[in-house]
C-alpha cells in the first residue's frame, strides 16, 4: 500500500489514517455482532462457559495447527481481498481494504487466535465496553504492520529481535495471551 523506500509524506499518513479507520471499524462491527450473539450464552453458568471456552480453544488449535488440520477445516474466506477495493482514491481504497481485513471474515485466517478471540467474546460474557475494546485492539493490531512499514524507513537502526515473529510462534503466543485474558474476563 505504501512504496518501500522514499521519504514519507502527509499523503502517506492520510493513507495510514484511512487504513486504521477501516481496520478499527471493521473489527468493531465483528466484535459487536459477536457481543450480540453472546446473549445466547447467557443462560450458561460461568463455570460451564469457562469449560466450553477451554475445550473450544483446544479444538480450534488442533483444527488449525494440530493433527486435525488435514481433516477439519475451520470456516474462512479462502480468497484475497480483491484489488477492486482500490478503485477510486487510494485513501478510500485503504479504508475499504482495512475494513475488510478488520472484519476478520473476508480473507484467509492463518492463525487460530482470531477464532479463539471470537469464541471468547461469545462465551466470556464480556461487557459492551470490553467488546468495543476487543474491536479497537484487533483493528489497531491489523494496522500495526503498515505503521511499522511507515516508521521503518525512518528508523534504519533497528532494534535487535527480542522475539522471533514466526507464524507458529505468533499464533501460539496470541492464543496463550487470549486464553489467559479470557479467563480473566469470563
Amino acid at each position: 500500500m505504501l512504496p518501500l523506500e522514499r521519504r514519507r509524506s502527509l499523503f502517506d499518513l492520510r493513507v495510514l489514517a484511512a487504513y486504521l479507520a477501516g481496520t478499527t471499524s471493521g473489527a468493531l462491527l465483528t466484535a459487536l455482532v459477536a457481543w450480540v450473539l453472546s446473549g445466547f450464552a447467557e443462560p450458561l453458568g460461568p463455570r460451564l462457559r469457562a469449560v466450553l471456552l477451554l475445550v473450544g480453544a483446544a479444538l480450534i488449535w488442533l483444527c488449525k495447527h494440530g493433527p486435525l488440520a488435514g481433516y477439519v477445516t475451520l470456516p474462512e474466506a479462502r480468497r484475497q481481498i480483491p484489488a477492486e477495493v482500490f478503485g477510486g482514491s487510494i485513501a478510500r481504497g485503504a479504508y475499504r481494504f482495512g475494513f475488510e481485513l478488520g472484519t476478520g471474515v473476508r480473507t484467509y485466517v492463518p492463525s487460530a487466535a482470531p477464532y479463539i478471540l471470537l469464541l471468547t467474546v461469545v462465551l466470556a460474557h464480556v461487557t459492551l465496553a470490553s467488546a468495543v475494546m476487543v474491536g479497537l485492539g484487533f483493528g489497531l493490531g491489523r494496522a500495526v504492520p503498515l505503521m511499522v512499514q511507515l516508521s521503518a524507513v525512518r528508523q534504519l537502526r533497528a532494534a535487535p529481535p527480542f522475539l522471533r515473529s514466526t507464524e507458529a510462534f505468533a499464533s501460539a503466543t496470541a492464543t496463550l495471551l487470549i486464553i489467559a485474558g479470557a479467563f480473566i474476563l469470563v
Binding site: T107, G137, L140, G141, V148, A152, A158, F162
Partner: protein, 50 residues
C-alpha cells in the same frame, strides 16, 4: 540491512505491547484493557497475512 529486514525486526518488538497491556490490566484489574490486549494479540498473529 534492507527495509524489509528492518520491518520484521521492529515488528517482533510489537509482541511486547499486548503482553504488557494484559499484565498491566491484571494489576489494575481492568477488564477493558484485557479485552484490548487480547484483540491486539489476535490481530498481531495475522501480521503476515495482508
Amino acid at each position: 540491512m534492507s527495509v524489509s529486514q528492518t520491518t520484521r525486526h521492529s515488528f517482533s518488538w510489537v509482541w511486547l505491547i499486548p503482553t504488557a497491556l494484559i499484565a498491566l490490566a491484571l494489576l489494575a484489574r481492568a477488564a477493558p484493557l484485557v479485552a484490548a490486549g487480547i484483540g491486539l494479540a489476535a490481530a498481531l498473529s495475522l501480521s503476515g497475512s495482508i
